[in-house]
């Protein structure tokens, strides 16, 4: 109860779906959750060990050929802990957005700096938007026809229709966010261009 780490809950939550190794968990997060969550190995492996010592998960060592494989399963207390967290209060994410920091700190420099930053940012966000759009299309189509897309369900372990629905809704969060950022780019570029004109006229 003392630890403030969210990693353990991310891990417990994924283990509540199916037993997995650290590598599996990392892959699942990277492939499917990356638009809202990240974990590093450096955090993952110690957390898995801690869950075992706390009785929230169990570790079993399989061996296929020479490669050893440590698969972790959630225990009943682990499931309990996961549900408690889910029902408890949710912290605001801490944000450190390098682009916004740059833009803000460019406010004393010539306007061209700000405009250049905005245009780069817009390009970056457009690319993200396209990536999202592709994923969204595939998923929405799969959900429409009640058809499990092999690739998706394999990598992400999405089995039920409801799970796919939640995944799609999660993705929509990213889609709407990136759309908002693009809209912001447009209005900000306009605002700076307008300001530039004001300055030019004042300079006459």
């Amino acid at each position: 109860m003392k630890t403030r780490s969210k990693t353990q809950f991310a891990v417990l939550g994924l283990l509540s779906w199916q037993p997995m190794s650290g590598y599996d968990i990392k892959k699942m997060i990277t492939m499917g959750l990356s638009h809202f969550w990240a974990e590093s190995y450096g955090q993952l492996y110690p957390t898995l060990e801690k869950l075992v010592t706390d009785g929230l998960a169990t570790k079993s060592s399989e061996s296929t050929g020479k490669r050893k494989r440590h698969v972790f399963s959630i225990t009943e207390p682990g499931r309990q802990r996961f549900l408690e967290w889910l029902a408890g209060p949710t912290d605001q994410p801490r944000i450190r957005n390098e682009f916004q920091l740059k833009f803000f700190l460019a406010s004393e420099l010539p306007l061209a700096h700000g405009l250049s930053l905005l245009e780069d940012y817009r390009t970056q966000q457009q690319e993200i938007a396209e990536t999202y759009a592709r994923s969204e299309q595939i998923l929405a189509a799969a959900l429409e026809t009640d058809d499990a897309v092999e690739e998706i369900s394999q990598v992400l372990g999405l089995t039920s229709r409801q799970q796919m629905l939640f995944f799609l809704i999660s993705l929509r969060h990213g889609v709407l966010a990136v759309e908002a950022r693009l809209a912001w780019c447009e209005e900000s570029i306009s605002a700076l261009k307008k300001e530039r004109k004001v300055k030019e006229n004042a300079g006459d």
Copy 2:
């Protein structure tokens, strides 16, 4: 060049406006940049010392009465380093959004869990939206009348009109983002309610 820390650039950027103490910097970030940046003392003080040993800033110890005060100023190499960073590549922020994690991990639980999470989130975001709206109004009014609002300029050290414009634009980023999140709440709540109906009918 080896360090990947962004903290030093945040600090250099603020020092490029005016000399400040660690406490001043922390206050300025907390008051004005919190919608896109955060720094902790634990990072701030070591960073300030490092900037001094690297020749990017200088430290002067003033004393008003008994309280000692360490004021840091940017040097020319420091200004150079800041500008290099500004012109260089910008990393995507890493996101760990506890709410979205919860929502996604609730996909195997009864729909009521997801709906409850969404409704709490909506309330939270509505409050944030109101806070932003207030700040935005004050700032926009100040900019309209070319009138520097005391409070703002004092705490944030916003002196020029251009600086206030950039601050307002930064804030707009937050405003549009929170609006997008609220829109997402609405469509997601609808989607889950629709799904609930589908299930009810299937259960007949």
